[in-house]
């Protein structure tokens, strides 16, 4: 398959223009930043690194999944995908163009969040970014799957909310001391990103460098491959327009 960078770029530019005027989606970028700021600056006694870790996990999971799911569902609802696919753009280019904007914008937001947060986030930017990149890519694919399974934007709430909640809350609950919850949480890739953030930012763990975290990186990579396979399966079954 030959991919055209020009066509991917065209879809990226379109999504960028669209994002600038889409209040619903812009709010999703602001929420984790505001939450992290409140935990970091306004609530005393928060464990070290908690505010930044929570903000990052929320950003990567919620924005990473919500934005692509809405992009696909809106195109289906407004019947714009049909005409996009009548052009030389292939479905793969459409996915990459849309996913690229989410990916770049989440990475920019991650860096921004690290810069405005107190603590040692900057010192562990490599861990935050590597884990963030892999988890964001995973979440974008899950978001696409939610978009493909939803008939319209409203339906992304029904299809997506349980998935978003599971990937966001269960890893956090798993790290709160319950062995049963931890076992369940280990089935979710976001648990490992949360774990990486905790190890890097809490100041309590011995494993602090990226090299120490290769098992977590490996699991995230494996999750990425599984998510890609699942996306390919759902796309083959349902196509882009159903």
């Amino acid at each position: 398959m030959i991919l055209s960078l020009k066509r991917i770029g065209a879809i990226f530019i379109k999504e960028l223009h669209d994002l600038k005027t889409n209040i619903n989606i812009l709010i999703m970028y602001i929420i984790p930043i505001v939450i992290a700021y409140i935990y970091d600056k306004l609530i005393p006694g928060m464990p070290e690194g908690f505010a930044l870790a929570f903000g990052l996990l929320f950003l990567v999971v919620m924005v990473g999944m919500y934005v692509p799911s809405m992009m696909i569902a809106e195109e289906k609802e407004k019947k714009t995908l049909g005409v996009l696919l009548l052009s030389p753009a292939t479905p793969m280019e459409v996915f990459i163009g849309k996913g690229l904007l989410t990916f770049v914008s989440v990475l920019v937001s991650i860096v921004f969040l690290v810069f405005i947060s107190s603590g040692n986030g900057l010192a562990h930017l490599d861990i935050i970014l590597v884990g963030g990149i892999l988890t964001t890519l995973f979440c974008i694919m899950v978001g696409f799957i939610v978009g493909l399974l939803s008939k319209n934007q409203m339906a992304t709430g029904v299809v997506g909310t349980p998935v978003y909640m599971a990937l966001l809350l269960i890893p956090m609950l798993g790290s709160m001391g319950s062995p049963t919850m931890e076992k369940i949480a280990k089935a979710f890739p976001t648990y490992y990103y949360n774990d990486m953030l905790y190890m890097a930012l809490s100041g309590l763990e011995e494993k602090k460098t990226l090299l120490d975290m290769m098992p977590e990186v490996g699991i995230l990579l494996g999750s990425l491959i599984i998510a890609f396979g699942l996306l390919a399966f759902v796309y083959r079954k349902r196509g882009l327009e159903q």
């Binding site: 020009k6 066509r7 770029g9 065209a10 879809i11 530019i13 379109k14 223009h17 669209d18 005027t21 889409n22 407004k78 019947k79 714009t80 049909g82 005409v83 996009l84 696919l85 009548l86 052009s87 030389p88 753009a89």
Partner: protein
Amino acid sequence: MIKVNNLSKSYGEKEALQGISFGVKEGEIFGFLGPNGAGKTTTLKILTGQLAADGGWAKIMGFDVGKDTNQLHAYIGVVPEETNLYERLTVKQNLDLFCRLYGCSTEQTDYYLDQIGMTQDKNTQVKKLSKGMKQKVLLIRALLHNPKILFLDEPTSGLDPASAETIHKILLELNSEGKTILLTSHNMEEVDKLCHNVAFLNQGQIVEAGSPVELKLEHSTRRMRVLIDEGDGLVSKELDMDGEESGAILSQWMTDNKVRSIHSCEPTLADIFVKVTGREFS
């Protein structure tokens, strides 16, 4: 240019197309007429590669629409029935996207906006445009890559008469520049005015086809309506077109300066549709 042979398509139990065949020549405007649910949009979606047929075949410029879809897209422009533009984007952003996808210069956008008289609206968000203006944007979008064939699904549906008239003018100009056009409509007057050839589609079958003039002559009752001035008011009379008697009566009225107007009584395309299907056209 377009050849369709025994094309069929079903949605579950419902047969949307029951083996239709027709052809469209280069430079022709061809109209598909029929009520809602007749199979017009299904035909158009199959021809543009958006839907797979269950049986039969269709070729456009020699390309099989089911197999050579990607090559075909370079030669066709499609105006769908629904106004599927990106509402939050401006007119220019919408059009530039497709210029980039087709690999043509974004100057094309400015050229067509100028041609259609929408240059001043190029930075307006699509959601702020009227339905007629959105329809023009859809038309420009279909033209950006200079296709040889245009497919239009109900191009003036829901438009006010002035906007519909503008779209008609644009289509006639495009046709005079050599574009082949296939359109679907349930507006008989529109089809009568624009199309060189039409096909009536009813319940997935072509029930009549030909040029509007030929069809009207073929189904004509060969009578004429004459408006005459009887001195105390205007009276409408009907005469056969054939025969010495009608000639003599008409001649006498003309000699007496009574004739105010003469119209042939050929049926409209709507009348013909009702006649051949036994079904009201709605």
